[in-house]
């Protein structure tokens, strides 16, 4: 009578009982199977989505990023708003020169949708004018060539760094489009760099990625060739560490208030809101999935309890015999409890297998732009833990009924 031996015997007996009543066992497991499968596959899908979102959040600077955007001056300043030069290249220079807490800074000259032409092919894409540090803020790997350099800024070079989308559309026969020329609004640009194609992550597939459609040119080129003035649409800044953010915001505010002659026509946006939004989304998914999973597993547990109760009344005589030959109430209790646990653990395992299958199928069915995690490990762990706990809990009452039976009555039972 050692605990390990008891557990092994318990599992063996449970298995034997389950095997002897295959149909009934499968029916009683079905709730748990469905519950675990539903939980794990939903978590897999949601987790994939969330991790894509989080990853693109991190890649575009994460929580350390600040964005300065123009806004309308407040009512009280409306009549003098004209004295502000609004957001310009000089704001960028001022931040870069005067604020050491700013690790990287870039202006964004948003040229929106532009049409590119090369080799008789044409394709529209987004393009921004930026400075070299842009690539330290939104960290994208360059596969061929280089990113925009300081010299491009100084010389207002007609160069461009492209994503793989433009290469695919304009130079489909080329692996690297570096060195090729394109025309945009009648002007010729040389491609000097090409980003790595945004690829799938482990467990993710076919990520249709907006990142591959982003293209960049020197901010100074954009301003002088297209805009004709030194206005910028946004300024992006990245801090060294999170604790610096309040001071950094303060300093930017002071600097820009000076360059804007006291007109409050800009705002500094942090990514905290976005992060909070992301967290909220994650939490709401966790709670709603947890709720659904909890309910279905409870339903599964009730199913198991039901079958266990039926099994107890079917085996009253067996219980009587076992007690007569020396089983204590405790032994009977353990026997039925183990049967319930083994049933639901098996159900849990089958549910996990089903969920992996479902996720693999889902991966091939979902629309592009979505991602899926085929092995959501923590969900699998919790699903398994939860199903064994359910088996334990729903086994207690039937096992108690079995254990409490009086051996004489049980043996007399027809």
């Amino acid at each position: 009578m050692n605990p390990v031996g008891d557990i092994v015997t318990g599992i063996n007996n449970g298995m034997r009982e389950i095997w002897a009543n295959k149909v009934r066992s499968v029916l009683s497991m079905s709730g748990i199977i469905l519950g675990v499968a539903a939980l794990v596959s939903m978590v897999g899908i949601v987790q994939g989505m969330l991790s894509t979102m989080r990853e693109s959040f991190e890649q575009s600077g994460g929580v350390l990023k600040l964005e300065v955007h123009p806004k309308d001056a407040p009512e009280s300043q409306q009549h003098i708003a004209g004295i502000s030069p609004s957001m310009t290249w000089r704001d960028y220079i001022a931040i870069k020169k005067a604020i050491p807490l700013a690790k990287y800074t870039t202006p964004i000259v948003d040229m929106r949708w532009s049409r590119f032409v090369a080799q008789g092919r044409r394709e529209g894409a987004m393009i921004d004018g930026v400075t070299p540090e842009h690539n330290n803020i939104e960290t994208r790997e360059i596969e061929y060539g280089r990113f925009i350099a300081d010299i491009d800024i100084r010389q207002k070079s007609p160069v461009i760094v492209i994503g793989t989308h433009l290469r695919d559309e304009l130079f489909p026969e080329l692996q690297s489009a570096v060195g090729q020329k394109m025309r945009m609004q009648g002007q010729v640009y040389t491609i000097v760099g090409q980003f790595v194609e945004e690829q799938s992550l482990p467990g993710q597939k076919r990520r249709w990625n907006i990142e591959n459609r982003k293209n960049y040119m020197p901010a100074t080129t954009a301003m002088s060739r297209f805009q004709g003035d030194d206005k910028v649409n946004e300024i992006h800044i990245i801090a060294y560490q999170r604790e610096d953010l309040p001071d950094l915001i303060n300093q930017i505010e002071n600097t820009l208030t000076r360059t804007h002659r006291g007109i409050n026509d800009f705002e500094i946006r942090t990514q905290e809101d976005q992060l909070a939004e992301l967290k909220k989304l994650e939490n709401s998914f966790i709670y709603s999935l947890g709720g659904i999973a909890g309910i279905s597993l409870i339903v599964g547990g009730i199913g198991i309890m039901n079958v266990m109760l039926a099994s107890v009344s079917e085996r009253i005589r067996e219980i009587g015999v076992r007690k007569a030959i020396g089983a204590r109430s405790y032994d009977i209790f353990i026997q039925f409890l183990f049967e319930s646990i083994v049933t639901s653990v098996l159900g849990g395992i089958v549910g996990l297998a089903v969920s992996v299958g479902l996720l693999s199928i889902a991966q091939n069915l979902i629309p592009e732009g979505q991602a899926i995690s085929i092995f959501p490990i923590s969900a699998m762990f919790y699903g398994f833990l939860f199903s064994s706990t359910i088996g334990f809990i729903s086994g207690i009452y039937p096992a108690m009924r079995a254990a409490r039976l009086d051996p004489i009555d049980a043996l007399r039972y027809e």
Binding site: G320, R322, K323, A324, G326, R328, S329, I408, L411
Partner: protein, 230 residues
């Protein structure tokens, strides 16, 4: 441990059931001593308390009053798990309706008591085969109970009652479900086991069965009205 000569000593043992407002005295003052290697047949009319007595001797039930000694120790008030321990280690049961577990094969049925016994047994498999050997059922070890005849099932049940080397085997109408040929065979088996040293108490309605015993106890209305040795 050397076994004491006395197995049971019952003094003024009573078992009273309360059904509604009525009291049923199933055992109404039993004085009885059972010693080593006795072969006892308990006889009597229906409802005279035979099964109640067997349940009491088998630690399946507790007396309402009186005193009960087992192997010279007072066991009158022992609790449920104490009684289970005694059933597991010291008592063997044979039932009228065999009560083999249909899902287990013959050998596993025979071995079942060992999983509840606190005695140490070394080679379960061999012990089981040995017990089956004693009842002549070795060749059926891997069969399931419903593949056996009634007489064969009862043999297996007897092997099961022998497996833990019990001090006392209790059999409540062990031949009640058997035809006369099998009844004779089972009684021959019991008689031969007696010569190997077991102690047996059985209940029967059948005088031919009772004649195998050396001691006959006749019951009526919960009392022993006759106790004769041959």
């Amino acid at each position: 441990m050397t076994d004491s000569e006395n197995i049971f000593q019952l003094k003024d043992l009573r078992r009273t059931y309360i059904v509604g407002s009525e009291k049923v005295h199933a055992l109404d003052g039993i004085d009885l001593t059972i010693t080593n290697r006795e072969f006892i047949a308990v006889i009597g009319t229906s409802g005279s308390g035979k099964s109640t007595l067997m349940n009491m001797l088998g630690f399946m039930d507790s007396p309402t009053s009186g005193q009960m000694e087992f192997e010279d120790k007072d066991v009158t008030g022992i609790d449920g798990s104490g009684r289970a321990r005694l059933r597991a280690n010291r008592i063997g049961f044979v039932f009228q309706s065999f009560n083999l577990l249909p899902r287990l094969n013959v050998l596993d049925n025979v071995l079942l008591p060992l999983s509840y016994s606190t005695k140490k047994f070394n080679n379960h498999h061999d012990l089981g085969l040995e017990a089956l050997e004693r009842v002549g059922m070795t060749h059926r070890a891997s069969h399931t109970p419903n593949q056996l005849s009634g007489g064969e099932r009862q043999r297996v049940a007897i092997a099961r009652s022998l497996i833990n080397n019990p001090r006392l085997i209790l059999a409540d109408e062990p031949t009640g479900n058997l035809d006369s040929k099998n009844r004779g065979r089972i009684m021959e088996l019991f008689a031969s086991l007696m010569s190997e040293g077991i102690t047996l108490a059985l209940v029967t309605h059948d005088d031919a069965v009772a004649d195998y015993a050396q001691r006959k106890i006749r019951m009526e209305d919960g009392r022993i009205i006759e106790d004769s040795k041959s």
